[in-house]
Symmetry: none
Subunit: 208 residues, 4 copies
DNA sequence: GATGAATGAGAATTCATTCAT
DNA sequence: CATGAATGAATTCTCATTCAT
């Protein structure tokens, strides 16, 4: 899973080192910026030597990719849990709210990390990595839409999933980074739920 | 207009140089990336010397800011035209469609530029520049919502404007950069119109 | 006399331009620093174009050299006046005081200029220009010492002239630049007079 | 001691690198000039890469400051040794001679370095560093004057110390840089001793 | 003559990566 | 394995000088 790792850490000490490196990088991205995440700074914060970075990661970007992996897995896990079979009998509006809640919590834990992931998604040469993640999330959303029993207003589920994914991500991230006053997270989730359900189901259903 | 210009170009040759620098930078941002826009590369593409960059721009970022300015003004002009008095009697759905069309056209002219502007908006230390632009666009949207005659479903217009702005921007940009197959721009505009009108007005009105 | 001048200014307008350039440079050296005296800045302050600088001076340093010339001539003029025949009958202490007074006045008119001239004198490859000036001043001092009628305590007049020149220059300049509190210029002159006459004549004579 | 060092060199190899950098810089200052001491040139002469300069010094000037420190400490050590308790019973003329001898030796070891230090003292924005050194040397001289048992001719010891410091420094440095023929260092010291003692004590005492 | 736009060599500094210890 | 000193390509920016208008 850790694609670019130079060597799989097997010993406890090695695992701890890898964990420290990823934690340090996440912290720097969260509190500072992508530019601040130099190898020197990561090594400092992690409390290891620069050499150790290259023991486990072939190049600097591999560290970021490993972090992406971790965050991608967490995000997908949250969505899979919400969209899982257990929720198929609930009202769509509740599933949507649950998904948004889960995402909001995830984002708020490391907004800087998601900020960087979004920026990566804006690169011209977007990595396969990032592309595959987008694909998987959109597939999950599309699948969710397809399993809604109520009549849908939207017909092109692929397009709808794409739009919903982009809208939710951008809005949540902007909210977290800018913290516009007078708009707390619960209210944001309520509004986004409204946005999505109105779009997908039409107002009657979303009201009911 | 060129806020950070070191010197206002007076002679024709000078104006041409400034134009070449901005054009070159826009092209690099469009086709490559923000990182690729080094002073060396910009000068090369513009066909001028590095020194000439600094005749008219105090530092590298000032070139980007000048480009931002240009794009900000264009964007605001489009929106002001659409939201202007002439449209107050039209159905909201038409105004929304017109605005989205205008934006889509603008974005498609220089997607890379808007990509960079979006990235700038994701920086920890977002510049006053970028912030002010976001503010003005959201104000325009809010004002538009406030002048709709039909009964609104949303109550917090500030929140609604914020969500709409972020959603439209992210979706349009992602569409332009990824070009998801099977989703042409007209369809995208139709879907986004649906998204917005359903959210703001409820389905009955948006259908009508 | 203006050694490096590219062309002798003959027309009134041209003379005025040269004057403006030298004045501007002197002002910048006085108020700012040697580094601040860029061709761009000199042209700005002088109110001429950069091109005009090169109309009259072959290269930037030629401007500084012309300034040196001017200052060197002034300095030598002051000393020649004091050490001239008229003063041969006065007491040495009075001549020394008069010379110091003249120099103090000259230095205070443009301390920054003399600062730069001193720095030039500290360059490894001191220009012939600067060297020749040092030589001439020391010759003047030596000649003055040789014409004193009272018995001298010093025997090596060349050495004495060298020491006196360096001491006076450094002390006066440091005084002007640092303005040590509690030491006004009259007091400084009195002290330096004491320093020199005691050294050259011994205390009995310097007291008388 | 190395105030601006970025990192304290611990390993032998590192110490050797720092030493090489300082040695190279001193050599360039001695044989060439302050302007010649570019980072590229220092690295070349030191036989290290430019990057290594920045391992140990935060910026170019920090290298010069480290050199200054080294020289300041040496200079003060020489003067403290001479003006120390052991010399209080000796004749002032001997203490002055000893001090001048010590300084002459120090200056002759690295004239270029002292040249640069003097130039730094002539900068408009003289660094606190340099200023503090001047202050300390003048304080030492003043204290020495105050402890002389013989009756002094000078009354303002602060002014006298200032004048003596500037005169000795400038004269010794000029002597070293210009090497005026017919004036060897012993003779220079004798003359400067004469200059100082005559000034401070009057000729009778300085003769005895 | 006068102008000032254009030039480009050269300066300081950063940072991912390597490798001897 | 771990370390961190060393590397040097690449970046931004300055400024004396030239030359077309």
């Amino acid at each position: 899973m850790v694609v670019h790792a130079r060597k799989q850490p097997r010993q406890p000490r090695a695992k701890e080192t890898v964990r420290a490196i990823l934690e340090a990088t996440a912290q720097i991205l969260d509190r500072e910026s992508l530019d601040a995440a130099t190898t020197k700074r990561i090594a400092e914060v992690a409390g290891v030597s620069i050499g150790s970075l290259y023991q486990y990661f072939s190049h600097r970007d591999a560290i970021l990719e490993a972090l992406q992996d971790r965050e991608f897995e967490r995000t997908l896990a949250v969505m899979q849990a919400v969209f899982g079979d257990g929720h198929i009998d609930k009202a769509p509006i509740e599933t949507v709210t649950a998904a948004l809640r889960g995402l909001a919590q995830l984002y708020s834990q490391s907004p800087g990390l998601h900020r960087v992931l979004t920026i990566e998604g804006l690169r011209v040469a977007k990595s396969e990595h990032v592309h595959a993640f987008d694909r998987r999330v959109i597939d999950l959303v599309r699948h969710f839409l397809a399993t809604i029993r109520a009549p849908l207003r939207v017909t092109d589920l692929e397009a709808a999933a794409f739009i919903i994914y982009q809208s939710v991500r951008a809005t949540m991230l902007a909210h977290l980074l800018e913290r516009p006053h007078g708009l707390d997270v619960d209210r944001l989730i309520a509004e986004l739920t409204q946005l999505i359900t109105s779009y997908v189901l039409g107002s009657a259903e979303s009201r009911g």
